[in-house]
């Protein structure tokens, strides 16, 4: 289980991570559920992604479906093309990450609704639950969206 106090040893955050037009500067995470971090995107030759699916929201049970950009679930496929990493579930795109350089990357599209989270977005806006985020920035390694559930 990936939490803020139990991050993968190989995880190195990007200095700048743009998530559907919103910038996380100096590390930081898109989302936390209690202490759990369902999505991590770190530096590497290709973007290093860890993704956990929420399988039981009442008991906060997660299963890892991607670890260090390797699929851990038969329904999940990962496609890499020239710095762009795309994650699909049953052929439907749930995440596309574009690496710009050593220190920055951008989430071009995201749709985590099939793995338990009402989060989807495009290059210009991020929709989370009943809120829309666009053009915002956050510095200092915080968490953009929290859910205590």
């Amino acid at each position: 289980m990936i939490t803020r106090n139990n991050l993968p040893t190989s995880f190195i955050p990007y200095k700048t991570l743009i998530i559907c037009s919103n910038s996380l500067i100096g590390g930081g995470f898109l989302l936390s559920m209690g202490d759990i971090i369902p999505l991590l995107i770190g530096k590497g030759e290709k973007p290093q992604i860890w993704l956990q699916a929420l399988v039981d929201s009442e008991n906060k049970k997660f299963i890892p479906i991607v670890e260090a950009s390797i699929s851990k679930h038969p329904a999940v496929s990962i496609i890499e093309t020239l710095g762009m990493l795309t994650i699909n579930i049953q052929g439907t795109n749930i995440l596309s990450v574009n690496k710009y350089d050593e220190n920055s990357a951008e989430i071009d599209s995201i749709d985590l609704r099939s793995i338990g989270f009402n989060i989807h977005g495009t290059k210009t806006q991020l929709i989370i639950g009943n809120s829309t985020f666009s053009g915002n920035s956050m510095s200092g390694g915080g968490v953009l969206i929290g859910f205590d559930g």
């Binding site: 479906i65 679930h73 009402n118 009943n130 053009g135 915002n136 915080g142 953009l144």
Partner: protein, 135 residues
């Protein structure tokens, strides 16, 4: 509240409502159509050899308990033929267990059928609804 957050410098985590979609991924595989007869055979379908092995091993244990007091009593001795009977009981029950293990039986047949079913039945990944008692 917080419906449209645009071009802001955020310093704290934003709490949002309606974050959960109550969907997730799961694996589906066809059930094995277990009948009452299959269940009965799994419980009681071991080979006759096994039943004999059980019988002889129980008799051997009973016999050895009879010899037990002689073993600690200085006035009583255990004769060679008594040791022999005990040894034969142990060897026979052991051999029958071994033979029973390798002989085909109805229980093994059902278990192998179940194993084969789960090897052959295709697995399918599905999107599934989670329990949504909170909604």
């Amino acid at each position: 509240m917080n419906n449209n957050i645009k071009n802001q410098e955020l310093t704290t985590t934003t709490k949002v409502k309606g974050l959960l979609s109550y969907q997730s991924i799961g694996t589906l595989q066809q059930n094995y159509p277990l009948t009452e007869l299959d269940f009965e055979l799994i419980q009681n379908g071991k080979s006759q050899t096994n039943n004999w092995a059980h019988g002889i091993s129980l008799a051997t244990v009973g016999y050895s308990l009879g010899l037990f007091q002689n073993f600690f009593d200085a006035n009583e001795t255990i004769s060679t033929s008594e040791w022999g009977a005990l040894g034969v009981g142990i060897i026979f029950s052991f051999l029958l267990y071994i033979i029973g293990y390798f002989l085909p039986n109805k229980r093994k047949k059902v278990i192998n059928n179940i194993k084969q079913h789960f090897i052959d039945a295709p697995k399918q990944q599905i999107l599934m609804e989670q329990n949504n008692d909170n909604s």
